[in-house]
């Protein structure tokens, strides 16, 4: 699934595709049905454009293979960092190697999935600069779907492999009982985490509507959050950890639900129910991202630059 349904609606109106019989239905239901229809249409367009990106990349087969390999190898270097840490320390902020690996794996997987789906949105600034964004606004497809696929890099998908392996290996190594609750929570946290990360990508990229030159800053901030989410929040100290968890909701990507899976008390002393709040947080961030994106599109159409 593509992460966030909300922003796909950017400037779509429910009346864009009138359906027969729709007029007889009450307003709210009609709106919902219209919304569902639009989401389905956008999702179809998304898949189509991603297939095209793969086809375009297939023209340079060797290049694609090499790049995919590079991406995969680069992620292995991330892993080496953790290996080096534990070669010198018995535990990181009180967490064992398996626990840190689990935290790392789940958050890295969530970010990698989000990156695979909406990563190219950070190229928006380039598209605006060289005028290609006007072409986006000509087509009968939502702005987000097109922006997320315009510079789609199939090799990025290879980044999913390493964290997926780490999650499985660390899950087996963890000294916990894998009951239904833990399995459900673990898969739920990856889906919600991906949604939160995708929303963060989209919301940050919306800044590019205001400052198209800020591409590097936007990439840095999204890569930074991806990096920050990989370690136990407590390594950042109490205040920064609170900030990262509550204000920027990256603590919800894996940290809080993982505490439940690891059977640990919260070092920050946050209420226990927050460990299960990821879906709600995901919906909230998706809503905020949709709002930011729509505001960005509106601004672009107001200023034309």
């Amino acid at each position: 699934m593509r992460g966030d349904p909300g922003p796909g609606l950017a400037d779509r109106r429910p009346d864009a595709t009138p359906r027969p019989g729709a007029a007889r239905r009450p307003g709210a239901i009609r709106r919902l049905a219209g919304l569902g229809g639009l989401l389905a249409a956008e999702w179809r367009a998304y898949r189509l454009l991603v297939r095209v990106a793969f086809r375009e990349a297939a023209q340079y087969r060797t290049s694609l293979a090499l790049r995919s390999l590079t991406e995969a190898v680069a992620t292995v270097l991330d892993l080496a960092t953790i290996g080096i840490l534990f070669a010198h320390l018995p535990a990181l902020a009180g967490f064992s190697l398996a626990e840190v690996a689990f935290l790392y794996g789940t958050s890295a997987l969530a970010f990698a999935v989000a990156e695979a789906f909406v990563g190219p949105v950070d190229r928006l600034g380039w598209h605006i600069r060289d005028g290609r964004f006007d072409v986006v606004l000509i087509r009968p497809v939502g702005v987000l779907v097109q922006t997320a696929t315009m510079a789609f890099a199939p090799q990025r998908v290879a980044r999913v492999a390493q964290p997926a392996v780490v999650v499985v290996v660390s899950a087996v190594a963890l000294p916990v009982q894998w009951g239904l609750d833990r399995i459900a929570l673990a898969s739920g946290m990856i889906v919600c985490g991906a949604l939160i990360a995708a929303s963060a990508f989209v919301a940050t990229a919306a800044v590019l509507f205001v400052a198209p030159d800020a591409t590097v800053a936007v990439s840095a901030s999204t890569q930074g959050s991806a990096l920050a989410a990989r370690y136990p929040m407590t390594v950042y100290g109490h205040h920064l950890a609170l900030l990262l968890t509550i204000v920027l909701p990256i603590g919800f990507v894996s940290w809080l639900p993982a505490l439940y899976i690891l059977g640990r008390p919260d070092p920050l002393g946050l209420p226990t129910f927050l460990r299960f709040a990821s879906p709600a947080v995901a919906l909230l961030t998706a809503g905020a991202a949709a709002f930011a994106w729509r505001a960005g599109v509106r601004r672009y159409r107001g200023t034309g630059s």
């Binding site: 400037d11 864009a16 595709t17 367009a45 006007d134 072409v135 009968p140």
Partner: protein, 342 residues
């Protein structure tokens, strides 16, 4: 063909009513530290016109006059600062996606095709995005391939096409979904003569066949002369003229040029035909101008009677001259709203 109403008029395709677009520019003020100056740029000011279904309208004006801004507002890329626009009965700013299926757009300087895909695949993708029924798509594509001679490069990636080939591809994409209205922003810029002719013939044919409403901006005289029944002229954001080309020439007192080749070099000819005068002499060849609305016959007769004539040719006033006159005069020949009503 489009139906007409009780007055014999075609339905309204494009309606622009008092549209304005103001951009706010901020630039650093000199000697005031980080303070920035706010500068309002009025790209389009209070423009009104109506285009009926089946018309081909040339939208003219110098660079930066507000042509592209108007087109972008009509597509829904830009929202107007003030005024009202209706295209195919829809509000482009609020119903951009619904409108997108009913219009076609060609930007001469920017392709809407997929760079790394063969032309054929770009069309296929276009079919899906615009949800063109299969039969309609195949019939249209077959016809366009024939009309624009796309066959030889249908399987070539767009990045390897020449400018003329690419433009023919873009033109095909813009018309594949049978849009009611098509905007073209400088469709012939940089093209060779053959490609230009192909583009013009295609536009004329689509207009005749399906009454497609066409609005194009161009700097090419021949585009206007061969295609446009009507021209709109915009300058500094304001609509300066709305009418046919002959009226525009006439109203601006444009001049036609008679080029005379004499048997041998002579000093400038003296002619008595009213308004005619020699403007240039080069050996046996002389250039005479006379008012565009006057007939060339008396002048030719006079010269033929008095001088040994080897050859002669007649030139219509170049549209560039006509437009230059319009701008330099600084006065509007006739208020746009009034002209639109006639």
């Amino acid at each position: 063909m489009t139906d007409t109403d009780e007055n014999g008029l075609h339905p309204v395709a494009i309606e622009v009513d008092g549209a304005s677009k103001t951009f706010v520019q901020r630039r650093r003020a000199h000697g005031r530290g980080l303070r920035r100056e706010r500068l309002d740029v009025h790209a389009v000011r209070d423009v009104s016109f109506t285009v009926r279904a089946g018309e081909i309208v040339g939208y003219l004006g110098p660079n930066g006059a507000g042509k592209s801004t108007t087109i972008k507002m009509l597509i829904g890329i830009l929202t107007p600062t003030a005024g009202r626009l209706r295209v195919a009965g829809l509000d482009p700013a609020r119903q951009r996606l619904a409108l997108a299926r009913r219009i076609g757009v060609v930007f001469g300087q920017r392709s809407t095709l997929w760079w790394d895909l063969p032309l054929r695949d770009s069309f296929e993708l276009h079919r899906h995005l615009y949800r063109v029924p299969d039969g309609q798509f195949r019939a249209n594509l077959a016809r366009f391939v024939e009309m624009l001679d796309l066959g030889p490069f249908l399987d070539t990636p767009v990045r390897q096409l020449s400018l003329g080939q690419r433009m023919r591809g873009d033109l095909t994409a813009a018309f594949l979904h049978d849009p009611a209205i098509v905007y073209l922003d400088e469709p012939t810029i940089g093209l060779d003569v053959v490609s230009k002719a192909a583009v013009r013939a295609f536009l004329a044919e689509k207009n005749r066949e399906q009454a497609t409403t066409i609005m194009l901006t161009t700097h090419d005289t021949a585009d206007i002369e061969q295609l446009c029944q009507r021209v709109l002229v915009i300058d500094h954001g304001r609509l300066g003229f709305d009418g046919d080309l002959a009226t525009l020439r006439d109203r601006l007192g444009a001049e036609r040029t008679l080029i005379v080749d004499l048997a041998d070099p002579r000093p400038p000819l003296t002619v008595t035909t009213p308004g005619a005068r020699v403007v240039r002499v080069d050996g046996p060849r002389q250039w005479l101008t006379f008012p565009a609305r006057a007939s060339a016959a008396p002048l030719i007769a006079e010269i033929a009677a008095r001088y040994p004539l080897a050859d002669l040719s007649l030139r219509e006033p170049p549209i560039e001259d006509v437009i230059t006159r319009l701008y330099t005069r600084g006065t509007t020949p006739k208020p746009a709203a009034e002209a639109a009503a006639t």
